[in-house]
């Protein structure tokens, strides 16, 4: 017997990014066309052909985080801050020390799951551990190296610090990781397995090893000016650029949100996923189209009902042309009418964090009824035959939005997100 499908709303947003460490500054940067890309300062980039990235300013985290957390891996620090914002915004920290980053060991366990997407795991800790091993052998390995190097140290750290007693896991699927995490949380709530799930994404990998291997992969933009270097869908694009960050969406059944009197910031209407099953790094149209169609069918909408698509949009030729053709094939003639934007030119490509970071941007775009400009889209690539958002903010019509994530490994994840007032019979506030 089919289970009842429950509505899943978003009651909290958290964001840690190069363009802001709370949603207000992120939205101001998106609307104002301000990129977070710049010359990397966190480590010595000498020897790398490309030296640009989108780094997070640790200042706000240093001011708030104390003790052991302050010395923890950047991924955990980012994830804890994104979680704090999402839980606080959703009213789950009310009555406790608002602004404290931890609820403490004596606080009651909350009925909330913690599913995180992460492409690289705690990269800084892995790098430092391997460096110590190379230097000292086994004598360089502290006992805590084992738990600190686990990919799921991120969801575990969040669960422990905020006493989240639901599921606790990390999804690893490269650039699709956190879109998959949101999809899992959405399905769990929709189908009645959970009431509240914190779905996050995080990656922080600016270290000499990880940045170096990405350089050598040959997909990073060689344009020297950070403001012009990342150019999704532009004919003069030269590749992508990396960024670090985290974002969290607190998903909650509509009943739970109503019971608590929590304001819905948006709604997850549908989710689709697939695998290209063809090549480890080259994307494929057929797999992407399957995920897009599944998400639309899951949401019960036609492509023409979409108000906006937030593309994967990495600004590599391989991605942009393939994604454009996938959208065109899945949407048909509706592709002429649905505006498509990409926001990696702001955040950088944050890999496992990109799905949720860009989903937060998409929800803010729906909330404000405006799509952020497509930075650097000076000469749209004719191979990308879509209605692309221009270099100015674009007012959006009513309707839900689609968020695409297409990762290395061939995993595809697509979300359909709604404004809180976009339900049938609802109105945009």
């Amino acid at each position: 017997m089919a289970r009842e499908r429950r509505r899943v709303v978003v009651t909290g947003l958290g964001v840690v990014s190069a363009i802001g460490v709370e949603e207000g500054s992120v939205w101001a940067s998106l609307l104002g066309g301000r990129t977070g890309l710049g010359e990397i300062r966190g480590f010595d980039v000498a020897g790398n052909a490309v030296t640009i990235g989108a780094e997070v300013d640790l200042g706000p985290l240093d001011a708030r985080q104390k003790g052991k957390l302050r010395r923890a891996d950047r991924t955990l620090r980012f994830a804890v801050e994104a979680t704090r914002q999402a839980l606080a915004g959703a009213g789950w920290l009310a009555g406790e020390e608002d602004g404290d980053e931890e609820r403490g060991g004596d606080a009651p366990v909350l009925p909330i799951g913690s599913i995180w997407g992460c492409g690289c795991g705690p990269a800084g800790t892995l790098y430092e551990s391997h460096r110590r091993f190379a230097e000292k052998g086994p004598q360089g390995m502290r006992p805590s190296t084992v738990p600190n190097c686990m990919a799921n140290s991120i969801s575990a750290g969040v669960s422990i610090r905020f006493r989240l007693g639901g599921t606790n896991q990390v999804v690893v699927s490269a650039c699709t990781s956190s879109t998959n995490a949101v999809g899992q949380g959405f399905r769990a709530i929709r189908d009645g397995y959970a009431e509240v799930v914190l779905c996050g994404g995080v990656d922080a990998f600016f270290d000499p090893f990880y940045y170096g291997v990405w350089n050598n992969l040959g997909v990073l933009s060689t344009i020297a000016d950070p403001e012009r270097a990342l150019r999704p869908f532009d004919a003069d694009r030269a590749g992508t650029l990396l960024g670090e960050g985290a974002a969290a969406l607190l998903l909650e059944s509509a009943e739970s949100a109503a019971r608590r009197g929590a304001r819905a910031r948006g709604e997850v209407l549908g989710y689709g996923e697939s695998s290209d099953a063809s090549h480890i790094t080259s994307p494929e149209i057929a797999g992407q189209v399957r995920a897009i169609r599944e998400a639309l069918a899951d949401a019960g909408i036609e492509p023409g009902e979409l108000a906006y698509v937030n593309a994967h949009g990495t600004a590599t030729e391989s991605n942009d042309v393939t994604e454009s053709r996938s959208i065109r094939e899945a949407f048909g003639a509706a592709a002429d009418d649905v505006p498509v934007g990409a926001t990696k030119s702001y955040f950088g490509h944050t890999l496992g964090a990109s799905g949720t970071l860009e989903a937060v941007g998409t929800l803010l775009a729906l909330e404000h009824g405006v799509a952020p400009p497509n930075l650097n889209l000076d000469r749209p690539d004719p191979e990308c035959d879509l209605l692309l958002v221009g270099v100015e903010p674009l007012p959006l019509g009513r309707g839900p939005a689609m968020k695409n994530s297409f990762g290395f490994g061939g995993g595809n994840g697509v979300l359909v997100l709604g404004h809180a007032g976009d339900r049938p019979g609802g109105t945009r506030a």
Binding site: G67, K68, R70, Q139, R142
Partner: protein
């Protein structure tokens, strides 16, 4: 206690600072730490104690059984143990 013993204990105390700051749960202001400071005040959890033992063994070239570590209450107890069992500068 001789002056040289006092100097030795002070030297060990100084080296302890860097090790404990690495393993402690709380930020430690080492300038306020004395031999009377309790080890509990640094907020070690069970994993942090393992790291602390590991780091102390590396720094001081000693073996510290876990039960010995757990039996010590104050920084002074730890200094005494290190003074009696080793406390020499790490070789190499």
């Amino acid at each position: 206690m001789s002056a040289s013993d006092d100097a030795g204990r002070a030297e060990i105390l100084g080296r302890l600072g860097a090790v404990i700051e690495e393993s402690a749960s709380e930020d430690v202001d080492w300038s306020g730490v004395t031999e009377a400071t309790t080890l509990d005040s640094f907020g070690f959890d069970s994993l942090a104690v393992l790291d602390l033992i590991f780091d102390l063994e590396q720094e001081f070239g000693v073996q510290i059984p876990a039960e010995t570590m757990l039996s010590m209450k104050t920084v002074g107890n730890l200094v005494t143990f290190l003074a009696e069992t080793g406390g020499e500068e790490k070789g190499g």
